[in-house]
Amino acid sequence: MKKILRKIPLLIGILLLLPLLAWGADEVPTITGNADAIKAVQTNADYVWTLVAAALVFFMQAGFAMVETGFTRAKNAVNILMKNLMDFSMGSIFYWAVGFGLMFGATTTGWFGTSGFFLSDFSPGGDPWVLAFWMFQVVFAATAATIVSGAMAERTKFISYLIYSAVVSGLIYPIFGSWAWGGLFHGGGWLEGLGFIDFAGSTVVHSIGGWVALAGAIVLGPRIGKYTKDGKVRAIPGHNLPLAALGVFILWLGWFGFNPGSTTAANKDIAMIFVNTNLAAAAGCILAMVTSWLRFKKFDVGMSLNGALAGLVAITSPCATVTPLSSLIIGAIAGILVVLAVLFFDRIKVDDPVGAISVHGVCGAWGTLSAGIFNIGGTSAKIIGVQLLGIGTAFVWAFTTAFVMFKLIDLTVGLRVSPEEELEGLDYGEHGARAYPDFQIVSATTFAAGSGSSANEGAWSSATAPATN
């Protein structure tokens, strides 16, 4: 849709740079002149909307940082913050250098793009649309990368984090992205060719992030103390729930850029996308709370927060092509699903401190499927088949490449910190710092009981001889 823009003649280019001078006092307006000017004004509006939306999506980085910090322990807070800061910074550079070209460059094979690296599509004085588009895309790429940090929190080496973060935003994400979204710019992928619906990226962004996270959590193994020696799940509560809740509100706000901004055009379509996004989030939040209440007889705050995110992730794919009522249903199902998924991954000993795999992986898949089921223009076996193909492809691609990557990192620089460092907290080991030096910190788990846990940590501690604590 945007391609047409690049064909606007130079004259208009100049008009846009000096939009008001174009109608100087002595110039007589003409019909075609007016028509061109109207297009120019609409284009300006498109730029403004796309970039304001990009700013909102950027702000999701703060949301992820607060959610992940809040849901983990005080002794690892600095580490989480640094990860979130760095995945956006590294992601920006790697997506600029490599990722964008792979995802949206011209392609001969249909598997990845081969032009537009280092933003070479832009030349001074030329059409700046590629810059606006890149800006919107880079914040998406960083979102995919940042999802992973939550699931791998509290035990991953910082240097390994920097490496995988670069690979995710430079390779794993953009290559899959080129299959589903390449045609939005110079590319053209096989999945979109089949009619795969993923308007704002339930699969492209969230599931990809979620399945990389799954691979990471599996390769890493659970945190020390997460399971008792007889395999029971122990809670490791997050240390700052107000920050986590703030993070969820920020993410919810950011999604009002993520979904409606994916029009990359200022038009009336964004209204329904806003409403759908909001209703799905609300329904997800409520249903997660209800589900947690039915299961635990308490209104669980962690689950409710995750429920809102689950609804948001699910509606990301179908937001432009389902009715508000369908959105509500899609969000509600996501809210139930996320609770069950969190319990499931806990049980199969995949330790995901913030629930990233359940929220982004599982609900991303559900959302993508729901885009087929609730499609406003009707559904069919074929539509659903293509959706399932996309979901499956994303899983295979992301999980496999990430698994190999993490294994390679593990064999070379090592993926996990030492048990001593893990027990003491990564903030000291990696960053020589503490997040809250003026507060008296007590680990929640110090005063908590869990049958058999002592033996677990005891076994470790006599084996590995901690120098500290």
Partner: protein
């Protein structure tokens, strides 16, 4: 000189303090502790996993007094800190050999 150490429920601190003040006790030292005893801590739930906090918050009050005050002090604490519920806490008494006031260097009774 004796040191009286009481482990009490946090919301009873003010009453204990006032009771001691009425006795003319001019100083005490207080700290936050965690108690383990008949009174049980509670179970919490975090994203589906339950965990029990075995320890309950208590306040430890330490007062050093002259021997002849001991019984009065104990009586006041027993009265003021009592709710009659499990977990009201304990009072322990032990002797102190000497005391000094840092500001003046005074020793013994004069120091407290």
């Amino acid at each position: 000189m004796k040191k009286i150490e009481a482990i009490i429920k946090p919301f009873k601190l003010e009453e204990v303090k006032e009771g001691l003040a009425e006795l003319g006790i001019s100083g005490m030292t207080v700290s936050e502790v965690k108690g383990f005893g008949r009174q049980k801590g509670h179970s919490e739930i975090y994203r589906g996993a339950e965990y029990t906090v075995d320890f309950v918050p208590k306040i430890k009050v330490e007062v050093v007094v002259d021997g002849n005050m001991v019984d009065k002090v104990i009586k006041v604490i027993l009265a003021q800190a009592k709710t009659g519920q499990i977990g009201d806490g304990k009072v322990f008494v032990r002797s102190i050999e000497n005391a000094y006031r840092i500001r003046t260097g005074e020793e013994g009774r004069k120091a407290i």
